[in-house]
Symmetry: D2
Subunit: 238 residues, 4 copies
């Protein structure tokens, strides 16, 4: 069966900002979803202003990997939905957090830190160097990804040390950033991927699309080993 | 200057249960504090039923390492105090979480997971094997710590993979547990240490006292590198 | 295309020891190979006493994942073959090291440590607890694997800290062991899996076979990102 | 007792190259040693052309932390001395490998990989960003270290994933590098620190000196837990 991906987008910039709409006329989620469909994933989308933000119990139960983009309205995401997503991640659903999603409730909830960082809207060149060249998320890439225009994110990035670091970004303005970071929480795999400022056409970039597809394959759940919690009788007689 | 440790204890079992009081007549915190003073630490204690749980801004500002034991009343710890402790850990304060503190609000807040596990009150023998023999927290130990009577905790332990695993416990009833685990969050170092059921004299055990002292030295903050977050001008002219 | 596995076995015990031959009449490699074929892998075998130990350049070039069992004759493995395998691992070939293979030249070469441990031939019960229940190598297991009779391996295990720890073993004689450990070296993925003493029928155990199959899938190479080493011209003009 | 540091230097460039001699008239080891003495360490030096490369059993037995700089003559270091240093590291001696020491026999022996990388002698600006601001090796630094002129080292760096990554370098020519990386091997702590091309005055830089001193404190051995290897009787009667 195909991996089932739900692409979640705040979907506000695209509706209220002409510059962003020109780049993503139907929203970033639609661009990302199309790229994933072309790779064989079963994709649906969900956005903030839908009922339950489009993330009902039924949708999450039918989601293998959730992709998350948010920026302006992190606070409008209801806590009940955050807890529902959190429980699903611990139960095995993959989660890919994009760009400004670093400040989303769900990412901060899973990381346990502020997830703060340094930034500059300006117009840097970003160069993502592969530092884990055998990792499935880097499959088929060259030694780096070049993005001509991007917002800068700089260190320190206040997250737990990544379990695996896949990319490190170089910015023309002088900063670096750990821009591709893998985590495990419960049975779920989480990938944070830095690029994707709304005013740049980053999600049309073939290498960026490839990384997101690679990450969706990597984060898709495998049949977990049984987990038994709570009071337990002894296994050995003594 | 000496490392300043605050030993926090829920301090309910000792007041309401005769069996526990016989082992820790003045509370577990008093036993742990005495062992740390003998090692040269500057120690104070704090308990749940004091105002602000004994963890005012002033106390935390003067604390290098906080030790936490709780069990019955995790829910009574006020969220505002949890957030205060959380902020101090990210800012560099060390945190040592003992035994049933795995379900405390502060530990779950920092881990981002349920922190659930398997348990049995019975009466297992616990044997903590050192798996990181060069680590400062294992300094001066033999190859293992023997505890004649303890509550069992078993895997899976729903925490993020430890950055460093120092101890693995063997239980006579047939289980294992990752019983000494190091984490970094922000500038703070965190150590989870498993043993310490209230009805057993575990905190009188010399090796257990030694581990707690070693951990307090390890978790004490070093002068952190500067952290600058937020909007940043480019460093390079282009 | 199917993942291509080469099962390498020293294949001495089975030819010279009646007890072992009864359990593995055609060698452990044949038992392991059959289990992998049943899971859809393309499998060949190789043994110490074949020319080049059965690991010619051609064989290795056509191998995605190499499985290694050795014990009596580690020293008879020629250094040139070890270097050949080493180069292939760094280039992306997966490697699964079984049981007494911990002392093989190739494993020590990749780990950089002595790989020493504690052992007892006796007759322990081994119970492998899953500590990473969402990991692909644990897919489809219960919460633990029970092996009625096994040789004991105990801590300390002198290897680098595993990048991911999947299993921890409990032994009836009182020890624990980090018995399923993942590493990355170059583009290659490495899994060490503890069970498999030659006088016990461990490789007939369905859960052990399942773990080896899961590990072979996990260790199979993905198309690596390009790696460019050496002298490099600047990318930016200044 | 003071931490005892031995600074080892190949000491060829300084004797044969006028440009290098002007910067380090008595060798880089002398500059580094002086900086460490000013911080209270007990320091000796050793160089390639001394008998046993200055690293006799006696010297190593009296060394808590060994610092290593080599470049031209890695192959001239005798294997017996490499094995001696290797054994001491596993037994707890700290090791700090500087710059071109990435290709030394001892570092490759401990890492198990090629330790290859990308480089450019040119004249880049290097900026080392702190990515682990609470780590002891970053103590007292600003958010970054600026080095006006340095050789470039670029990714991929073919080493095992660092257990802790402390610094990431930005280079004006467009590359990044994981330039401060911590490892554990046996009971020993290892730190790789990138800067230090012989034709630049890098080891006179106060922040570089501070990092080396911090690393020497961090890598100094603590009294290790006992390690018992080999055949073992059962602890439990069954």
């Amino acid at each position: 069966m195909n991996v089932r991906v739900t692409v979640w987008n705040e979907y506000r910039h695209e509706r209220h900002n002409e510059q962003v709409r020109r780049i993503y006329p139907e929203g970033m989620h639609t661009t990302i979803a199309a790229a994933l469909r072309a790779e064989g994933f079963a994709v649906r989308t969900a956005t903030l202003d839908e009922p339950e933000h489009g993330l009902s119990e039924e949708v999450l139960a039918a989601t293998d990997v959730l992709i998350w983009w948010g920026h302006l309205a992190h606070d409008e995401v209801r806590d009940a939905v955050v807890e529902r997503v959190h429980a699903r991640v611990l139960d095995g659903m993959g989660l890919i957090v994009l760009h400004s999603g670093h400040f989303s409730k769900i990412f901060k909830r899973l990381m346990g830190t502020t997830c703060n960082l340094k930034w500059r809207v300006g117009n840097d060149r970003e160069r993502l160097w592969v530092v884990a060249p055998g990792h499935p998320i880097a499959a088929g890439l060259g030694e780096r990804i070049e993005i001509e225009h991007e917002e800068m994110y700089g260190e320190p990035f206040d997250v737990p040390p990544p379990e695996t670091l896949v990319f490190v970004s170089w910015f023309s303005g002088g900063e670096v950033f750990r821009s591709g970071a893998c985590y495990t929480r419960g049975q779920g795999r989480i990938f944070y991927f830095r690029p994707g400022h709304e005013t740049m056409p980053t999600y049309h970039h073939p290498d960026v699309q490839r990384v997101i597809a690679n990450a969706a394959r990597w984060a898709a759940p495998t049949p977990g080993a049984a987990r038994v919690f709570g009071n337990a009788a002894p296994l050995e007689t003594r």
